[in-house]
Amino acid sequence: MKAVEVKNLTFSYDQEKNAADDVTFSVEKGSYTTIIGHNGSGKSTVAKLVAGLLEKKSGTILIDGLELNEENLREIRRRIGIVFQNPDNQFIGSTVRDDIAFGLENHCVEQKDMDAIIEEFAEKVHMTKYLDHEPTRLSGGQKQRVAIAGVMAMHPDIIIFDEATSMLDPQGKDRIKNLISELHEDRGLTILSITHDIEEVVKSDYVIAMNKGRVALTGTPEEVFAKPEELKKIRLELPFALRLQEQLRKEGLTVTPAITMEGLVEELCRLNSKR
């Protein structure tokens, strides 16, 4: 079952150049899929198209088998949540409580049920203590946690993270990354994460690499990172373990490819103990 199916999707901001050019990919239900690519490669554009925030020029987008069009937009908005990059610019309410309520109001949840829902999801993102705080008194990471709670409260099936950790400090990043894994593992949500964080990519189920508005490579992390030359060509970074393996090869030591450090350590130990 596919959570998202994108076929021959094309979009342009101006008439000159397509920001998304004949993009085709699919996201398995319940998977953790990452989209990578340098800035300007079209990844955020694709995310906005999938969330129904931009109008495509041509192609089709299916969410849970339901076509994204004018008619289904409201239903699809409920099924897909999106957390954006800038923590300040997506905090709409004047307090944490009001911000979580904002989505509920839009989806016409009855007022008497709201408090319970707000408290439930504030608890999930560990923000219960801050329910009545204004955004100026919160850190970037805390604001992103509120954004996640706001999205979660609508019970979506799919959550898109559009570089949601890129403006946070390391502590904030870690907490959000853990929270995303929790959503994926414990609740079985489909995660579509647009990211530059190579360690996150290594741990994901499926990778889509984009370049110049097109899909350049797709596959599991093992499959994608098995083509280092192609990744370098589209200005993408390799995980540390692979960079080290390249150097080891120069020193005349060839090892079975491993994309994680743990894997590489194991492999080196195996070689080291072998007589």
Binding site: N39, S139, K250, E251, M261, L268
Partner: protein
């Protein structure tokens, strides 16, 4: 040229309920010619610290000494302009300071403000643009039409064109993609190593500290608690562990291998050296 903090405190909104001590009794000296990283959690006082270097902020008590300037509380703003030419400060997300019609005009805005004649300022701008890796054809474009990464370069060129002796950078690569960040860091390293510019950089990225810097200052609760060489800071993961930060990948990998019985020395800093050390051992055994 000394760059020194002597018993510097900075208190925001003194005498109001919003009183906030950002720096407390800071004694610190930055080494001239070095590439120093300032690290620490959000709210530890890093940004407040570096904004004293070009007198955007003055100490509420104590003295900041930069070259011939002695910066103290309540000082007259006259004469600070020359200091700001000497100490170039690049803010976080500097692309938001672009405003001119053309890239060339925007980059030469700084030098012109410091009294450099238009022609010479534009020459400096042209050079600075080349330094940040953008070619001449960008000179006449509007800075507002460029991509995010290009805007960042133009903004940084705007500071470089002022020919500062000291360059202060506040998270210069935040929001860039890895390749863009890499190119930016190489530029700073060249400025430091080739042109001898003293660089003080606020960052959260340990890979950058490890890969490019000479010294580390750790800020905690408005005070520098550690000031040491990068070599020493990353000799193993003990400093990082005590500060609860993730060490660079190379250090983590080295620690994992050491645990498995590999003999690896503390001075390994680059990937080729690391690979050679590993290969030597494995071959020796194998």
């Amino acid at each position: 040229m000394p760059i020194k903090f002597e018993k510097v405190s900075h208190i925001y909104s003194e005498g109001t309920p919003f009183r906030y001590v950002a720096l407390e009794d800071v004694d610190l000296e930055f080494r001239e010619g070095a590439f120093t990283a300032v690290i620490g959690r959000t709210g530890s006082g890093k940004s407040t610290l570096v904004q004293h270097l070009n007198a955007l902020l003055l100490p509420t008590s104590g003295t900041v000494i930069v070259d011939d300037w002695q910066l103290k509380a309540g000082q007259d703003a006259k004469g600070l302009k020359k200091l700001r030419k000497k100490v170039g400060l690049v803010f976080q997300f500097p692309e938001y300071q672009l405003f001119e019609e053309t890239v060339l005009k925007d980059i030469s805005f700084g030098p012109k403000n410091f009294g450099v004649p238009v022609k010479e300022a534009e020459e400096k701008a042209s050079n600075a643009l080349r330094m940040v890796g953008l070619d001449k054809e960008y000179e006449q474009r509007s800075p507002l039409e460029l991509s995010g990464g290009q805007k960042r370069r133009v903004a940084i060129a705007g500071i470089l064109a002022m020919d500062p002796d000291i360059l202060v950078l506040d998270e210069p690569t935040a929001g860039l993609d890895p390749q863009g960040a890499l190119e930016m860091m190489r530029l700073f390293r060249d400025l430091n190593k080739i042109h001898g510019t003293t660089i003080i950089m606020v960052t959260h990225d340990m890979e950058q500290v490890f890969g490019y810097c000479d010294e580390v200052v750790v800020m905690e609760n408005g005070k520098p608690t550690i000031h040491t060489s990068v070599q020493d800071f990353f000799k193993d993961s003990s400093y990082c562990d005590s500060l609860n930060i993730l060490p660079p990948a190379l250090i983590r990998m080295k620690d994992m291998l050491k645990e498995k019985g590999f003999a690896l020395t503390d001075d390994i800093r680059t990937l080729p050296v690391f690979a050679r050390a590993i290969a030597k051992q494995v071959k020796h055994h194998g």
